[in-house]
């Protein structure tokens, strides 16, 4: 027991634990231990220094446990693979870690309908392997696929470069089952790709960081695996030329699946384009791209370049105390402006690597003193928000001196977002304080 924990709180917690054991079985209620290591300490560390880990086996069990916690005024941090528990602001309270690890079945792969229904705790890798048996895929390239789960990836709205062609999760999810803090289990959407019956709750909970309900199951539209794939890259002299080439590729009639620009410190920016097609289509398109990029020389670097985003995140984790990783959302035609502003702001204070997708969504990795990093990010964020763009900090230096809010200003719809939170989670049971505006 940590010092400062009130006896009343302990009593509530132990009553809850007892009841939870009868729901999920005694082995599935235990101290979170190392499972919690990635989660930043709640702001008020007086209560519940180590949350209780609970692993329900069914969505009914999950909903019951959630309801129980809600009734006992205990806060709940939903957990999938635990890869992104540090995303968002540190929660105000973290009493219970509600894990979907045992909710990991692929409920249905209707391969001839190109849809699949999956439980939240299924990892992306497990899903990929299963879908590939019928030559299909969830056309998404999120971070850490071997550990990241469907529920976690949805809640954090994590997508990579394939988004250019296939859209992000909002475009791939067609149905969802949610457990709400009051114990409600509700479905929305459906199992068909085209459906406008009722409000689009699958989109509402995508990227909601588990603050409205816990996703227990989701249905996705799938795509066929590509027949052939090839990556073509070229170097640009500077960010401006990189942007010019990227825009030229975007306004061409090429049907590429992904395009990105990598900015590695003190090196020339590199542009990568991914084609996925039949052999015949591929050859013709590669030839067209080469013409478009003339006189720049092109190379075929292989598929590893598409790990660039994940590598920035890994570099951030390797150097905990002096690194920050953030996502920048801007427009494709402003990428060079952003990179130049970053270079100006971080001069002599921080080093910066970045990768920008052709969609205008970029990941940056900064290295420097925590104070300096906070200063650079704040400066860039001001600049971006002024232009209706945004910067979200995902990885923050462990130092106490780094006080930057993860999300920045969510704009004039914040009261509406709070009203939604109030409707779904009136007691702020789920992830209290982790999301925008203190939600």
């Amino acid at each position: 027991m940590s010092p400062g924990v009130s006896p009343q709180f302990n009593e509530r917690l132990s009553t809850f634990e007892q009841a939870a054991r009868t729901i999920v079985g005694p082995d599935n209620v235990r101290p979170s231990g190392t499972d919690f290591r990635l989660c930043p300490r709640p702001q008020s560390t007086a209560e519940s220094a180590q949350p209780v880990l609970i692993e329900p086996a069914t969505e009914q069990e999950l909903a019951k446990v959630l309801q129980l916690a809600n009734n006992a005024d205990l806060s709940v941090i939903p957990r999938g693979g635990g890869t992104k528990l540090a995303w968002g602001n540190p929660p105000h309270r973290a009493d219970i870690l509600l894990s979907t690890a045992r909710l990991n079945a692929i409920t249905e792969h209707a391969w001839s309908d190109l849809t699949a229904t999956v439980e939240a705790g299924c990892t992306i890798k497990q899903l990929r392997e299963s879908l590939s048996q019928h030559g299909q895929r969830l056309a998404l390239d999120p971070l850490w696929p071997s550990r990241a789960t469907v529920g976690g990836v949805l809640s954090t709205n994590d997508s990579g470069a394939l988004r250019l062609r296939f859209g992000s999760l909002r475009d791939l999810i067609i149905g969802v089952t949610l457990a709400l803090p009051d114990g409600t289990l509700a479905k929305s959407g459906g199992k068909v790709v085209k459906n406008v019956a009722g409000y689009d709750l699958p989109k509402l909970v995508t990227g909601a960081l588990g603050t409205l309900g816990v996703i227990t199951q989701a249905t996705f539209r799938l795509h066929p695996l590509p027949k052939e794939a090839r990556t073509i890259s070229c170097l640009a002299r500077n960010p401006r030329e990189a942007q010019r080439l990227l825009l030229a590729i975007q306004s061409s009639k090429l049907a590429h699946s992904a395009a990105q620009v990598r900015f590695v410190e003190s090196m020339q920016p590199q542009i990568d384009v991914l084609f996925e097609a039949t052999q015949a289509g591929l050859d013709a398109q590669v030839a067209q791209l080469k013409t478009l990029l003339t006189p720049s020389a092109v190379i075929d670097p292989g598929p590893a370049v598409w790990n660039a985003r994940q590598e920035l995140f890994s570099a951030g984790s390797d150097d905990q105390s002096n690194s920050a990783v953030a996502k920048i959302s801007t427009l494709p035609a402003k990428i060079a402006d952003v990179m130049e502003a970053l270079a100006r702001a971080s001069a002599r204070q921080a080093r910066c690597n970045a990768v920008f997708q052709a969609t205008g969504v970029g990941t940056i990795h900064l290295v420097g003193e925590p104070m300096a990093l906070a200063f650079v990010l704040e400066l860039i964020r001001c600049d971006l928000e002024y232009q209706d763009d945004s910067l979200v900090v995902y990885h923050r230096p462990s130092a106490k001196t780094f006080a930057l809010n993860s999300w920045g200003n969510p704009g004039d719809a914040l009261p509406l977002m709070r009203a939604l939170k109030q409707q779904f989670d009136p007691k702020s049971t789920l992830n209290p304080g982790r999301f925008v505006g203190g939600i």
């Binding site: 992000s168 719809a413 009203a419 925008v436």
Partner: protein, 518 residues
């Protein structure tokens, strides 16, 4: 031509169920006690939109008493034609103050009664807010007001070889605002997605008159995806006054093939094989014999006379499309296609599409009245569902023509009847409802693109459980706690937005004085 559509309301509540309003917004309202209030409101409304922005005469109001689902009619108290966001805000604030419900309306082409006025309410028509505000080609964005016509977006960017992808059949007259409300689809959403795929941001007047910005020109604005929730909410969450759209570069080449099959079974098998082969065509459309005959009679598309016609459109890089088209050709032959034609020119392709897009209207050639249904099924359930529809049709003696987006399983059965023959309308409505039940039983949906609106709200409880609906209702309560924005639509039964029980907890921002609870 009179066109009738189905109703799932109890008999007696449907159709011309509009009693004369208890008070009127006309200049000299009948003295019923509320007259002075009325006159004051009229004056205030006129001050907002000007004399030519306010319609109160019964004669002119008739235009607005229904949308394209004409069997539901309600006379609104008045119609407002604002020209700016500020005017919309002022109107909505006034409605909020007076607790007067309002219904936003675009071009009125909706097929589910979404723009049907509500009793004692006003209609806010957005047709005068029809400017394209910004075209940003490098970033492929267009910012438009809600009254802009769908096809005009493409018209403005086609010289630069861009287009706006969602293409509902009514695209030459329907408005972007209406598309946003209904999350409109179209024939090409198989590959390109729906309205929601192409709406990146919205300026919205909330039901209390507050102006908010959801999403934006760049992706992933921090916070909940409220633009994603608003699109397809059928006017129940507020009024969009500005829409940020994504436009798409025209593909290098487009090939359209039509193949004649003995029946929908063979055509359906060909569709499955095309999908199984890993292709994602821009569109796959199917018509059965009755639909072909109607389309042929109406626009002379020169379709072959057959049991089922499949239209497959592939687009993309030329080499890829040519290669895949050969493959589609083979698949069709292997599944028993007797005749296959590839449209050789833009003119031929346009003609092929003209027949398909005119199919609904063409029903007038073979039936005085018809009901358009909009159910969705998993594509693989097609043969079973088609044979069930066929059986029901034979048993009831009600003819059904089938036109559908075969690629995504969105059926548009057209239930044909003659209102003048006693009992036919009721039989057609019964059959139409049975078709929806078949779709739900097959794991599908009651609506793929036309919306729930007034028409299918009772069927919502067939598709969703009470907890499902109650959860959706929470969204409604967050946006519109007084339920003034298009009330009575979408949900099967009236629901209140009650206070949620729960302990009050001061938010840190409240403590810090940054924010207030509301």
């Amino acid at each position: 031509m009179t066109v009738a559509f189905p109703s799932f309301d109890l008999p007696g509540t449907m159709g011309q169920a509009s009693p004369s309003p208890p008070f009127s917004l006309e200049e000299h309202p009948p003295s019923r006690g509320k007259a002075s209030v009325d006159a004051r409101i009229v004056q205030e409304l006129r001050a907002i939109v000007g004399a030519r922005g306010l319609i109160t005469s019964a004669e002119e109001l008739h235009t607005y008493e229904c949308d394209a689902l004409t069997n539901f009619r309600v006379m609104p108290l008045g119609v407002l034609l604002p020209e700016s966001t500020e005017q919309v805000q002022a109107i909505v604030r006034l409605c909020h103050r007076e607790r007067t419900p309002f219904v936003a309306r675009g071009s009125g082409t909706g097929l589910s009664g979404g723009a049907l006025p509500v009793e004692n309410g006003v209609v806010i028509s957005l047709t005068r807010m029809n400017r394209i505000l910004e075209i940003d080609l490098p970033n492929a964005r267009v910012v438009a007001e809600p009254g802009v016509i769908n096809l005009d977006i493409t018209g403005r960017v086609s010289a630069q070889e861009y287009f706006y992808a969602p293409d509902p059949s009514s695209q030459s007259v329907c408005s972007i605002g209406g598309n946003v409300a209904e999350n409109s689809g179209g024939a090409h959403c198989l590959k390109y997605g729906f309205t929601t795929t192409h709406v990146l941001g919205l300026e919205v007047v909330l039901p209390d008159g507050t102006l908010v910005h959801l999403g934006g020109k760049s992706l992933d604005a921090p916070g909940y995806d409220l633009a994603g929730v608003f699109v397809g909410s059928e006017g129940t969450l507020g009024i969009a006054t500005k829409v940020i759209l994504r436009i798409v570069k025209r593909p290098e080449c487009v090939h359209t093939l039509i193949a004649a099959f003995p029946s929908t079974n063979e055509a359906g098998a060909a569709v499955s094989d095309i999908i199984a082969a890993g292709m994602l065509p821009a569109a796959i459309e199917m018509m059965d014999r009755l639909a072909i005959q109607a389309a042929e009679a109406a626009v002379h598309a020169n379709y072959p006379d057959c049991g089922a016609l499949l239209l497959v459109e592939l687009d993309g890089p030329a080499a890829e499309v040519q290669f895949l088209m050969t493959h589609v050709n083979e698949i069709c032959r292997n599944n028993g296609a007797s005749e296959i034609r590839v449209a050789q020119s833009d003119v031929e392709r346009a003609l092929v599409w003209k027949g398909r897009k005119a199919a609904f209207a063409a029903m007038g050639r073979i039936s005085p009245n018809y009901i358009v249904q909009d159910g969705v099924i998993p594509r693989t359930a097609l043969p079973q569902v088609m044979s069930e529809i066929d059986r029901l049709s034979r048993e009831s003696g009600v003819r059904v023509a089938n036109v559908f987006h075969a690629g995504d399983g969105n059926l548009h059965p057209l239930v044909l009847y003659d209102r003048r023959i006693a009992g036919q309308e009721a039989a057609a409505e019964a059959l139409s409802y049975q078709i929806l039940e078949i779709c739900i039983a097959a794991g599908g949906s009651i609506t793929g693109e036309h919306g729930v609106g007034e028409d299918k709200k009772q069927a919502m409880s067939k598709m969703f459980s009470e907890p499902d609906l109650q959860t959706m209702h929470r969204v409604r309560c967050a946006f519109d706690p007084l339920q003034l924005s298009n009330p009575t639509k979408l949900f099967p039964t009236p629901r209140l937005c009650g206070e949620k029980p729960g302990k009050y907890e001061a938010h840190p921002l409240e403590i810090a004085g940054i924010a207030e609870r509301f």
